[in-house]
């Protein structure tokens, strides 16, 4: 198992290189560049072509693309992600570091809620196919799919924030936060993240419970379930132990693939709730053509995607003995 993991990690390096090269190319080929707004804006009256060229040189943007890529790669090899091109020139890593915790926290909580709710919902509606419960959840799921997040967010904000005044509308902390006691601060924070989590969970729950239902439906039609029942096992054991474990396999794959989104953050939720997370950081960087920030994020997200794939493959083994056995024989 260990050798397998090491080999996979080793193979990931050229893959990562390829990803960064292609992304670097694409990002630099997009029209516009980071210097435009610094040189007084492209279409503003302070625009000064001489100064523009000066800045292009200052940032090394006049060098050929492959040289720029090589320089970037060189720095990356020393774990130097560089500094933002923006006026604050902050290290990319610390920009990401200050945005990551809140995004991770929100997304992990969301993911836990989604899994905790979607698995039983999916399993139940599969085992009771076409029952009232199944029909109700199906309707609910389609509503979940069809509801735009920003719209749901605004409705909830109007109801709970403006009309009822139970929850804060946006941000992460109240304005008087530093004057609250420790427990009040925790409660304040919780009340701020409630709506974002609800909104983000709503859409995700719909998708996951469908996957679960589908997967469960396939499993319960298998012969071994039939024979488990024939053995006289309790229905609870048949479904809960025999069927569920197998039905979970595709969910593990999807979960593994969802790991990078834990870090990516949701642009819509973050913007509408004014949460300074990764999604906002990236969108801003994209608009400002802040290459180092974009590339830094890409490296991190693609590394995690590769690691997540690996983790999912390992997790198969844990969930499914057949995969473990198959490997041992080789």
């Amino acid at each position: 198992m260990l050798a397998y993991v090491v080999r996979r990690l080793f193979l990931a390096v050229p893959l990562l290189l390829g990803i960064t090269f292609v992304s670097f190319l694409v990002i630099h080929l997009a029209p516009g560049d980071p210097v435009q707004s610094l040189a007084g804006g492209d279409m503003t009256m302070t625009h000064d072509p001489k100064q523009y060229r000066q800045l292009v040189e200052l940032y090394g943007l006049d060098k050929p693309l492959h040289v720029q890529y090589w320089n970037w790669l060189n720095r990356l090899a020393r774990l130097d992600f560089g500094r933002s091109f923006g006026p604050n020139a902050r290290p990319v890593l610390s920009m990401i570091a200050e945005r990551l915790p809140i995004t991770l926290l929100l997304n992990i909580v969301e993911m836990l809620i989604i899994v905790a709710a979607a698995v039983p919902i999916g399993a139940l509606s599969a085992t009771r196919q076409y029952s009232t419960f199944d029909k109700v959840t199906t309707v609910f799921v389609f509503i979940g799919f069809a509801t735009p997040e920003f719209w749901l967010a605004l409705l909830l904000m109007i109801l709970f924030g403006v009309q009822l005044g139970w929850l804060p509308i946006s941000g992460l902390r109240s304005m008087n936060w530093e004057y609250l006691s420790f427990w009040q601060q925790q409660a304040d924070f919780l009340s701020h993240v409630t709506l974002p989590i609800v909104v983000a969970t709503f859409g995700g729950l719909a998708g996951f419970s469908r996957y679960m239902r589908q997967s469960m439906l396939e499993v319960v039609r298998q012969d071994y379930i039939q024979s488990a029942r024939a053995k006289g096992l309790a229905e609870r054991v048949v479904i809960g132990k025999h069927a569920l474990r197998n039905a979970m396999l595709p969910i593990v794959t999807i979960l593994g693939l969802s790991l990078p989104t834990l870090i990516g953050g949701s642009v819509i939720v973050e913007s509408i709730f004014a949460i300074p997370g990764m999604g906002q950081l990236m969108v801003q960087a994209a608009f400002e053509r802040d290459y180092p920030v974009l590339m830094g994020n890409l490296v991190i997200v693609s590394s995690i995607t590769l690691l997540a794939n690996l983790a999912a493959d390992v997790a198969y083994g844990l969930v499914d003995p057949r995969i473990r056995v198959g490997r041992r024989r080789r």
Binding site: A30, P31, G32, Q36, S37, L38, A39, G40, G41, D42, M43, T44, M45, T46, H47, D48, P49, Q51, Y52, Q54, L55, L58, R83, G86, P87, N88, A89, R90, M95, E98, R99, F150, L154, M157, I158, G161, V162, G165, P168, I169, S170, G171, L172, M175, N176, Y179, V267, I268, S271, I272, F273, A274, P276, Q280, L281, V283, Q284, F287, E288
Partner: protein
């Protein structure tokens, strides 16, 4: 949301004021509508004695990109910068230049030497005294080739800046430069903290740019949460006396809808409204009791521009015909619900450069048809389009994506021109592509775009015939010797009375020639919580006297702060 952000970004690029340091405090001019004017007067006349204390929460869509204003060009950074920094001069209620760190100044007769006398006893937030050496340092920093400052062009005509004693600064210009005085609204930087960073070419990385800014301004830096908020507290040692309000929280809320809901929940004190919110969604008693709404012309105008290399548009009669064919009042109603005013030229309504005698070309389709006929567009083809030499009059109108307002303008113009027999095809392009492939390469027939204007009326770079190069801003390729002469005269005089004359004549000349059809100035629509008193709206907007804003003791809300 992508759209909204796109819009915010595009409008920042397009409408960023042409004069950096003061760009954020220059929303211009002229009284609020009648109802708000009385509201504002309520705050101004019968107000209780000014008390100290309380916090106000301001909301901004844009992010703060840095805390040294000399490095940034976005309006959020400048609004925050204004809390903490001072220039030598600043802009007063009527956009006049008033003393700040400089007590007084004097130009030599030939406009080449400018002498500042600085206020004495001014201290940086860290307690060190401010002196003439800091002024020299700020200038050198801005011009340093390793400092990426957007304000270099303001100082390119400066020959030298010298400290003549601790409170005397002399600036010598190579040639007379009309914006000289105003350019010194630039935020002054502390030499004792930043000198080494500038020398290393790393000013952007200095802690003063992010975690520990030090200025001379009315508020001191307290805390900054990246992408979330900036908090500043009153500087008790401020040389003009401490500001009234104890604390300002500047919140970044990237969604206009969210800002509006925060306003409805009364958890934001200062924000801007959209035309729709101003006109239709805030007209209920609870909102009007909680907030005062203000309205004054904004800093930018929208125009219909032509490629004057196109022989059809080179004919002034055609351009004037278009101006007559477009009903600007209807356009205003349709696009910004009437919250704006007709543009007659490129100078902000109510400022000194505007010529009040210039009347826009009235909506008169008959006159438009007559003018087009004079220019040779007489016959009509089967579709009712005007023809000349057998070719129908149709053109392509470009504008940028993500700006709904411009899209609507294009559609209304399309309909109006069709009525006089001109066909318009609208094409909407992504901003960067529009700029790179069409505007810069002069590959367009007509465009709808906007110009942002600064407090000074100098617009040499937009209208002068020498500015037609590929990277330059006279992209409509306008050349008019009279206009050139007036632009040159206007920017090289430091005598206000002469400048007034030049720019008023320039305004007339541009209105007669219609190098582009000036459409409208959109209004700025800020709201401020009604518990905050002392706001005096003027041509400069509302924020010019923000240090005097106050909340009477019994109305204070965030007292623990």
């Amino acid at each position: 949301m992508w759209h909204r952000l796109g819009l915010a970004f595009a409008s920042l690029v397009l409408a960023a004021g042409c004069n950096g340091p003061s760009a954020s405090e220059n929303p211009i001019q002229v009284a609020a509508d009648t109802k708000t004017a009385t509201d504002a007067k309520g705050g101004e006349r019968k107000s209780p004695p000014p008390d100290y204390g309380d916090t106000r929460i301001e909301a901004s869509i844009g992010n703060v990109s840095g805390l040294i204003p000399n490095l940034t060009s976005d309006s959020a950074s400048h609004e925050v910068g204004n809390f903490m920094y001072n220039g030598l001069v600043t802009l007063g209620r009527n956009l006049e230049i008033v003393p700040e760190l400089a007590k007084s100044w004097e130009f030599s007769k030939d406009c080449l030497t400018l002498d500042f006398t600085l206020n004495e006893g001014v201290r940086w937030h860290d307690g060190k005294p401010f002196s003439a050496a800091d002024v020299v340092f700020t200038f050198e920093t801005t011009m340093d080739s390793k400092t990426p400052s957007p304000y270099k062009s303001d100082f390119q005509d400066v020959d030298k800046v010298e400290a003549r004693g601790p409170n005397q600064v002399r600036v010598t210009y190579k040639r007379p430069y009309a914006k000289a005085l105003q350019s010194w609204a630039l935020a002054m930087l502390p030499r004792h903290l930043l000198e080494q960073w500038v020398r290393d070419g790393k000013l952007r990385e200095a802690p003063q740019n992010w975690t520990a800014p030090v200025g001379t301004g009315p508020y001191r830096f307290k805390e900054m949460k990246s992408g979330d908020k900036v908090v500043v507290v009153a500087n008790q040692d401020y040389f003009k006396g401490p500001p009234r309000m104890a604390r300002i929280v500047y919140r970044i809320i990237p969604s206009q809808a969210t800002i509006f809901l925060e306003l409805k929940a009364k958890s934001v004190d200062v924000a801007s409204l959209t035309a729709l919110q101003y006109q239709r969604q805030t007209e209920y008693p609870a909102f009007e009791k909680a907030y005062n709404k203000f309205r004054y012309p904004g800093t930018g105008y929208t125009y219909l521009g032509f490629n004057l290399k196109d022989p059809r548009f080179a004919d002034r009669r055609v351009r004037r015909a278009f101006a007559h064919a477009i009903n600007k009042q209807e356009l205003l109603e349709g696009v910004v619900l009437g919250l704006g005013r007709e543009a007659t030229g490129p100078f902000r309504p109510g400022t000194w450069a505007e010529n009040p005698d210039v009347k826009g070309l009235p909506y008169d389709p008959k006159r438009a048809v007559a003018l087009l006929a004079e220019a040779g567009w007489k016959e009509r083809n089967g579709d009712g389009l005007l023809m000349k030499d057998g070719v129908p009059f149709t053109f392509e109108l470009l504008t940028n994506q993500g700006n709904d307002e411009r899209k609507k303008v294009a559609e209304i113009i399309q309909a109006k021109l069709r009525e006089v027999g001109v066909g318009v095809d609208i094409r909407i392009l992504e901003w960067a592509a529009l700029l790179k492939e069409h505007i810069k390469k002069r590959q367009f027939q007509a465009i709808i775009l906007g110009w942002g204007t600064g407090p000074d009326p100098d617009q040499y770079v937009v209208w002068h015939s020498s500015q037609m190069g590929p990277d330059q801003l006279n992209h409509i390729s306008y050349a008019n010797p009279d206009v050139d002469a007036l632009l040159e005269a206007g920017r090289s005089s430091c005598v206000q009375a002469d400048r007034v004359r030049y720019y008023r004549r320039l305004h007339q000349a541009l209105a007669d020639d219609q190098p582009l059809v000036f459409l409208y100035w959109r209004d700025s629509l800020p709201v401020v919580a009604s518990r905050i008193h002392g706001i005096l709206p003027g041509p400069a907007g509302i924020s010019w006297n923000f240090t005097d804003w106050f909340v009477p003791k019994q109305l204070q809300r965030y007292t623990s702060g």
